[in-house]
Each structure stands twice: as structure tokens, then as C-alpha cells.
């Protein structure tokens, strides 16, 4: 910051000149300096983990980590996006990072959303309930967090949808997709793990033909894992809905449980 002659104090002139140069050469021409792009590694995999830190840090709120742009009801699925990116290979450049870049929209169970059921939640916000509380109440009403409900909450709380979405996607308990009639929670706590819970999850997954986190197209079953329900003495533990807890479930019992429920449903 000193001039050619090394005297202190002469730097001010240079700083002013520098600012002037920046104004003339860079900002004066066009405000945007480049296009925001997600960088891939040498294998073609996106480096982005969709952690939303950039969104939170950005001083002018110009970044939004959000729903899939092509299918507005579908939450952004970082894992699927990465898989899709890998499938397209390095060099291919797709502007929108979509969970569906390489495939059809998957068959999905999508019930109607009745916004009336959101009224108590909105009333709760007006009396001072926080965002996490509001999301819990919403999930209780719908079984998941529909996009329209999140939009109403964002509007009511005067915060951007992306912030509501950011909180909703951060916590494992919140579901952005509708769930089936029977939500099967397989406990993946330590005691259940050593007692063979992974084999139980796999059995459910094969019997229902859905991955963990998925819902059967008929809207009957959703398969999830939970970290620990605290009934370790009965490991491996499976919970169906909020009430029914089954202890000491092996792969065979798991399949039997599904068949039993299917039979029950068919009889109705």
C-alpha cells in the first residue's frame, strides 16, 4: 500500500484510482460477472451436497435451494441429482440440476391438499409458535409437508420459501412427500443393528418393492428407518404407525407382516 518511493501515506491516491478502475472496467459495464454454475469433479459427479450454506450466506439472497424446477411438487433430491449427473458423464452440461434429468417422472402417490386443515397452524404462528413447531403441526395435519402449505407458512412468517424449505429438509422427521396408510419404521439403533436390523429393512424393501423412504404406488405402505425407538431389549424393533410396536422381528416375520396387512386391506 505504499507508492514507488516507499513513502507512507501516498497510498490513498492509488486506492481511489483502484476503485475508479473497478467501477469503469467491471461494474460500469455489466453487474453480473459470470454465471453461477455447479462444478463437477473428474468423474462427472456434482460436488454440491445441497447443504444450503451458500443460500444462507449470500448477502443479496440470490441463491435458492429449492424444489425440483421441472416437477414443482418433487423435493430436490441431492442423491438422485448426483446419480443423474454421473449418468450423463463429465462434459455434459445441464443447467437445471434436477432429480429427473435423466428419467421420467416416477409414478407417485399424490393426494389432494385441503388448505383448510392448515388454519390452526397459521393461527399458531400468529400466537408465536416457531417454525419447527409450525412444521410439526403441519405434518400432523397432512402426514407430510405439502408445498402449498409451506408456501402459506412462508407468507405468514414473512420469510422466503427457501428458508422454510431449508429447515424442513434439514430435519429427518419432516417428510416432503406424502406417506402411505401404514408407515413402517424399522429401528436402526445400535442394539437393533447388531441384532440384524439391516436384514429386516432389506426384507421389507424387497417385499414392498420400494426403497427406504419410498411409498408404494397404491398409497398403502411407506418404508422408513428411525435411529432408535429406545426399546433395545426387544431388538430388532419395527413400528407400524404410532401405536403398534413389534419386537424381535426377523426377515421372515417382516415379510409375513406385510402379507398380513395386504390381506387385511384386500378384505375391506
Amino acid at each position: 500500500m505504499t507508492g514507488d518511493n516507499g513513502r507512507k501515506g501516498s497510498a490513498l491516491h492509488e486506492v481511489i484510482e483502484g476503485i475508479d478502475f473497478a467501477r469503469r472496467e467491471l461494474l460500469g459495464k455489466q453487474r453480473g460477472i459470470g454465471l453461477l454454475e455447479l462444478v463437477r469433479d473428474e468423474k462427472g459427479d456434482y460436488r454440491c451436497y445441497a447443504c444450503t450454506l451458500c443460500q444462507r450466506t449470500c448477502p443479496v439472497d440470490c441463491i435458492q435451494v429449492d424444489y425440483c424446477p421441472e416437477f414443482p411438487e418433487q423435493p430436490f433430491d441431492a442423491e438422485a441429482a448426483r446419480a443423474a449427473a454421473l449418468a450423463t458423464g463429465p462434459g455434459a452440461s445441464c443447467g437445471a440440476v434436477s432429480a429427473c434429468v435423466s428419467g421420467e417422472k416416477p409414478a407417485q402417490f399424490a393426494p389432494e391438499v385441503d388448505l383448510k386443515r392448515l388454519d390452526p397452524v397459521i393461527a399458531g404462528i400468529r400466537t408465536g409458535s416457531g417454525l419447527v413447531e409450525a412444521l410439526h403441526a403441519t405434518q400432523e395435519a397432512y402426514g407430510y409437508l405439502p408445498r402449498v402449505a409451506l408456501e402459506s407458512i412462508a407468507e405468514e412468517m414473512h420469510i422466503p420459501l427457501s428458508r422454510v424449505y431449508g429447515v424442513a429438509s434439514f430435519y429427518a422427521q419432516f417428510r416432503l412427500q406424502p406417506v402411505g396408510k401404514y408407515v413402517i419404521d424399522v429401528c436402526m439403533g445400535t442394539a437393533c443393528h447388531v441384532a440384524g436390523a439391516p436384514l429386516v429393512v432389506e426384507a421389507f424393501s424387497q417385499e414392498l418393492e420400494i426403497p427406504v423412504g419410498g411409498t408404494t404406488p397404491d398409497g398403502l405402505f411407506t418404508l422408513q428407518t428411525v435411529n432408535c425407538v429406545g426399546a433395545c431389549a426387544l431388538a430388532p424393533v419395527v413400528r407400524i404407525g404410532n401405536e403398534d410396536t413389534y419386537g424381535r422381528v426377523g426377515p421372515t416375520e417382516a415379510r409375513r407382516l406385510v402379507r398380513k396387512l395386504r390381506k387385511q386391506e384386500a378384505a375391506r
Binding site: 451436497y49 419447527v132 434439514f170 429427518a172 442394539a191 429406545g230 426399546a231 426377523g250 421372515t252
Partner: protein
């Protein structure tokens, strides 16, 4: 108000609360106590309650004999548990159809139904009384004392057993600093894992200026395999409430307004329900809210539910979560006691810490400090699970050895199995091998051994658990739960997991084992919070104590415990197979063939290694073989250290 007048007012207020419950203090009344903890609930306590009601109605005893649905008794392996008072007769794994006989013999009469009693695991002798069962006899229950005795929905039960007397004592003393001194002298340290001295925390929170002081209870018990806090909240919620009010008084009295929060896991619906009820009842009796016990002190508690994020057990993440944000920890150069919830001084303690407070006030700091070791005082609750005979919730003095817990209280390993390791501290802790079984349990010894106290999860594993698979389990957990703020934790744990995957599929080289160790050190170094800082611990402890087993995967490409799928194969022992076709029926992929009464075969092409056949076989004829791949060539041996 003068001192004497105030004391009289406090006494009168407590007496008024007590009057309503005085009838319960009578200890000779007959009671059927049914455990309503989560494990007993899952084992069928609802049907048991109905059976008890029917049996009492039949004999017209509904008015005189009370049915109490208590919190967790701790002996979850034996659920559903029924205890008959006043004798204290213990009936484990009781079936509804046997309830009638129990009522006839033990309530109407005063005998015991011998065939239904618990039997000593070694001698096989029946044991009638709860207190004589080795599982209970070897424990020291301070925090859990009233668990299993009182109805968690009833404040009367708690009051009748001396509840809220510690609060009255503190209010009468009217010296908040003396409370802090008492807690400091007791040597109580945070039960959530880190072991920070509670008294010192209270003192610095009080000293920090702010518009409001916050008292927060951390009930976000995220460690898989740990359920101490849940059991305390479910069994005796008032003890936590009382502890929090005392903390609020110590920190907030004559120091500006003070407000409380309990941050509890959403996965614990019973705990939330009972805590909510407890808060309502405490408010009704004037024990919470404005002008507590007529002392002029105001304090109220709100419940805030988490939403399934392990990292929210971390103090800074927890406060952000209460504020309605993503729970991402920040640096700890500014402590929560100075700048916590809503930017105000905040005292954050765990459930068990608060629940210890009333006992200390009632019995004095010396009594508490007399229990335990030089640096770790008092008792600690553990949830003992895994491959032990007697799993459940236990409370022991600090300094008890692991052997006493696992082989004394826990009753040792399942028949025919050998102890391999005990995992403490959840995903942040480590596995300790048999050679360390005589280590005393206290904060310092466990850290020195490469594990940690953690919140109190204690999972025992036997020779059927593969330590690589076990480390993988914990690492997958932390990789998923990493909030993503610090790159070393977010990316590092994922990369470590990938290496472990390769090890467990026999594809890794020895260089990768070295890389794993280096990465572990980087993750510890480069993470802001305790989640990242301790995430590599399970891997490091596996490398430290079970290196041979890990290297067997790499060099010999076999899994000694027969767990890692790419390295194992299921075969039928033709000599042992009776041809009963049970495995054929169990096999979901149609891989097993064979005629009735002829030895069956497994087609390895079709086998998905799901273990269903082995579990279905009654003759131990399905075996797991390992060492099915060629041992690694010289390339793998390249990176071997020293």
C-alpha cells in the same frame, strides 16, 4: 416480606399441594404396579392392565386396590413387568391370562405364584421380591429411585414421596449463590457426555449479564441405543421439572427474568405427553409459573420438540433449532452461558443432570460426593443393551467396573457366546475389548481408553458382530447426521465410509487403511463441533483394539465374524440337515432346493444372503463360510506400516 413470614408462606403453599395427595403416602396399601415403559408397552402392557381391571372388578376390589402404570422399571428384557405392593413381588413377562391367579394369590391372599416368579439366571432358584433380584440388588438408584414406583401422570405420587421439598428448601434459604455452592461441592458433572462441572456452569451463566437468562434442558437423546433420558422423563418427569426450577432460582433469582425450555425428541411421544402433563400439574399447584410457592419467584417452562437431527444435541445447534432454524453448530469461542438462546445467557444441562439436583439438595453435597471416584461423583444411568442376558436401564455409582456392570448386573453374555467388545458413548464413543473390562467407569478413564462416557449407551457385542461392520454402522450414522457446515466432517466422513465399504467387501489395500487413519485425524482436527470431532472415534477404536480383524478383511479377504456379505457364503451342512424344508419355505429368492428328508442345497447364484434360512433352521445346519475369495496379492501388502 420478612424471612419468617416468607418461610411460613412457602410451607403453607407446599402443604396445600401436599394435602391433596397425603393419602398416597400410606406405604402399606395394596397396589398393582404395571410398567408402562416403551419396551413393556410393546410387550403388551395394555392387555395386562385390562386383565388386572377385570380381575379386580370380579372381586369388587377396584376401590381398595390401585393399579399404577409406572415409568420404566429398567429390566426391559423381562417385560411386561408387574410388581405387587406392598410386598414388592416381582412378576416378569406376565401374560394377561395369568393376571387372575396373581390377583387371587398376591392381592386377595398374601402368597406368591411360584411358577411365575423370576428365576436366578445361574442357580435357577425363584426370587420373589424385586429388591432381591441381582439385576436390582447390584445397582444404586438415586435418579431412578422413584421410577417404577410412582404414576408419572400424577403429581400427587411425586409429592407424597417427598417431591418438591428440595425446591421449598431452596426457596426458604433464599440464597441463590448457596445453591450454586452446594451443587459445586457435590461435584456433579454434566451427564450429557462432556462432563462439564454443573456448578461452575451455573455460576458463569449467572455472572453473564443479559435481558433474560434461559434454562434449557437437553432431552434430545440422539444416540442410538440410549434411552436413559427418555425413561426418566417417562417415569418421573417432575424430578426434571423440580431440578430445572432450582437451577432457574440459582441462576435467575435477583438477576432479572428467567425462562425455561425443554428440547425433547419428537420420537418420544410418551415422554412429551407426560412432561406436558407434569408442567400443567405443577402450574395448577403453584409450583411453576408466577410467584412459585408464594416466594415471589417467577419461572415457567416451555416444551420444544426436535425433529430428528442428531446434531441438535450439540448446544449451539440446539439453541438454533429452538429459534426455528437449521441446527448447524457454530464455533465455541463464545460460550452458550454468555451468548445462547436468542443471544442471551443460557444454561444448558441434560435431563439426568437436572434430575440429580433435587437429591443433592435434599441429601447434601457431601452425601453425593461420597459416591463415586475422585473426579467423577455420584451415580450414572446406563442403558445396557446388546447381547447380554439382562438388558435394560441401570444406575450405578461412578467407578464401578465394566465387568461388574456387564457380568454382574447384566448377567453375562447370552448362552454359548463370548464377550467381544462393549461400545460406550454412541456414535461419538468407541469399543472397548475384553482386556479393559476391569476399567472403572468414570469420565477420565473412559476417554483415556479411547471411548467416552457419552450420555450412557452401553451396547455389548459378542463374537457374531464384525467390528468393521460395527464401525461402518456408526460412521454411516454420523455421515448422514453431519450438518454439512464443516467440509472435513461432511466430506471426510463420507470418504471414510467409502474406505470402510471397500474393506468390508475385500477390495481395500493396506494403503487405504493408512489413509483411513490419516483422514480420521483430519476430520477430528477440522470440525467445529463435537459431532465431527468425535465422529472418527468408532473407527479409531476399531483400529486400536481390533486391528487384526480389520486386516483380515484386507489381507486374507475374509470376515472372521461372518457378517460382511461379499466375503461370506451360506451353505447347508448335509450331515446336520434333516430335510425338514423349513429353510425352503423361508427363502425369499428360491435359492434352496431339496427333497423332503433329503439334505437341501443352496444355490449361490440365487442366494441373496438374507439370513432367513439360518434363522429358520432348528438344527443349526445352515452355516456361514468365510474365506471364499482369494487372499490379496502382494499389491495389497504394499502400504503396511512398520
Amino acid at each position: 416480606m420478612s424471612g419468617a413470614k416468607r418461610n411460613a408462606a412457602i410451607d403453607a403453599a407446599l402443604q396445600a399441594a401436599l394435602d391433596k395427595s397425603a393419602y398416597l403416602a400410606d406405604d402399606t396399601k395394596k397396589e398393582i404396579r404395571i410398567c408402562a415403559g416403551t419396551a413393556c408397552h410393546a410387550s403388551g402392557r395394555v392387555a395386562l392392565r385390562e386383565a388386572a381391571e377385570t380381575a379386580l372388578t370380579k372381586r369388587g376390589l377396584t376401590e381398595t386396590v390401585r393399579i399404577v402404570e409406572t415409568g420404566c422399571h429398567g429390566f426391559c428384557q423381562q417385560g411386561p413387568i408387574v410388581v405387587i405392593r406392598p410386598q414388592g413381588i416381582f412378576y416378569p413377562r406376565l401374560k394377561p391370562e395369568d393376571m387372575e391367579e396373581v390377583v387371587e394369590t398376591s392381592i386377595v391372599g398374601s402368597g406368591v405364584v411360584e411358577r411365575l416368579l423370576y428365576r436366578h439366571p445361574q442357580t435357577g432358584d425363584p426370587i420373589a421380591l424385586e429388591k432381591d433380584i441381582p439385576f436390582y440388588a447390584l445397582q444404586k438408584r438415586i435418579v431412578l429411585n422413584l421410577n417404577g414406583k410412582i404414576d408419572p401422570y400424577s403429581i400427587d405420587d411425586y409429592l407424597a414421596h417427598g417431591g418438591y421439598s428440595a425446591l421449598a428448601r431452596v426457596l426458604k434459604q433464599a440464597d441463590p449463590l448457596a445453591v450454586i455452592d452446594e451443587i459445586e461441592q457435590s461435584g456433579l458433572r454434566g451427564r450429557g457426555g462432556a462432563g462439564f462441572p454443573t456448578g461452575r456452569k451455573w455460576r458463569s451463566c449467572r455472572a453473564n449479564p443479559g435481558e433474560k437468562h434461559y434454562i434449557v434442558c437437553n432431552a434430545d437423546e440422539g444416540d442410538p441405543g440410549a434411552f436413559m433420558d427418555r425413561s426418566v422423563l417417562e417415569g418421573n418427569p417432575h424430578s426434571v421439572v423440580e431440578g430445572m426450577i432450582i437451577a432457574a432460582y440459582a441462576i435467575g433469582a435477583d438477576n432479572g427474568p428467567v425462562e425455561g425450555y425443554v428440547y425433547v425428541r419428537h420420537e418420544y411421544p410418551f415422554a412429551v405427553q407426560r412432561l406436558r402433563r407434569a408442567l400443567e400439574q405443577a402450574r395448577e399447584r403453584g409450583l411453576l409459573g408466577k410467584n412459585i410457592l408464594d416466594s415471589g419467584f417467577d419461572f415457567d417452562i416451555r416444551i420444544n420438540q426436535g425433529a430428528g437431527a442428531f446434531v441438535c444435541g450439540e448446544s449451539t445447534a440446539l439453541t438454533l433449532s429452538i429459534e426455528g432454524q437449521r441446527g448447524m453448530p457454530r464455533g465455541k469461542h463464545i460460550r452458550t452461558v454468555a451468548h445462547g438462546l436468542w443471544g442471551q445467557p443460557t444454561n444448558l444441562n441434560n435431563v439426568e443432570t437436572y434430575a440429580s439436583v433435587p437429591w443433592i439438595i435434599n441429601n447434601g453435597a457431601e452425601a453425593f460426593a461420597a459416591i463415586g471416584t475422585a473426579t467423577s461423583k455420584g451415580t450414572k444411568i446406563f442403558s445396557l443393551t446388546g447381547k447380554v442376558m439382562n438388558g435394560g436401564l441401570i444406575e450405578v455409582p461412578m467407578g464401578t467396573t465394566l465387568r461388574e456392570v456387564i457380568f454382574g448386573i447384566g448377567g453375562g453374555m447370552l448362552p454359548g457366546r463370548e464377550f467381544k467388545a462393549v461400545q460406550l458413548g454412541g456414535p461419538s464413543g468407541g469399543c472397548l475389548p475384553a482386556s479393559l473390562l476391569d476399567e472403572p467407569i468414570d469420565f477420565e478413564s473412559l476417554v483415556a481408553a479411547g471411548s467416552m462416557m457419552g450420555s450412557g449407551g452401553m451396547v455389548v457385542v459378542d463374537d457374531t458382530t464384525c467390528m468393521v461392520d460395527f464401525a461402518k454402522f456408526f460412521l454411516r450414522f454420523t455421515a448422514e447426521e453431519s450438518c454439512g457446515k464443516c467440509v472435513p466432517c461432511r466430506v471426510g466422513t463420507t470418504r471414510m465410509l467409502e474406505i470402510l465399504e471397500r474393506i468390508s467387501s475385500g477390495e481395500a489395500s493396506l494403503e487405504e487403511v493408512d489413509l483411513l487413519e490419516k483422514l480420521a485425524a483430519e476430520v477430528v482436527e477440522g470440525s467445529l463441533c463435537a459431532l465431527g470431532g468425535s465422529a472418527p472415534n468408532p473407527v479409531l477404536s476399531a483400529l486400536r483394539y481390533f486391528r487384526d480383524e480389520l486386516l483380515a478383511h484386507v489381507v486374507e479377504r475374509r470376515c472372521p465374524a461372518g457378517v460382511c456379505r461379499p466375503l461370506i457364503r451360506y451353505v447347508i451342512d448335509e450331515a446336520a440337515c434333516t430335510g425338514c424344508r423349513a429353510c425352503v419355505a423361508a427363502c425369499p429368492s428360491g435359492a434352496i432346493t431339496g427333497e423332503r428328508k433329503q439334505p437341501h442345497q443352496i444355490n449361490p447364484e440365487l442366494c441373496i444372503k438374507c439370513d432367513a434360512c439360518r434363522q429358520a433352521c432348528r438344527y443349526d445346519a445352515v452355516r456361514v463360510e468365510t474365506g471364499i475369495l482369494e487372499p490379496a496379492g502382494p499389491a495389497a501388502a504394499g502400504g503396511r506400516r512398520k
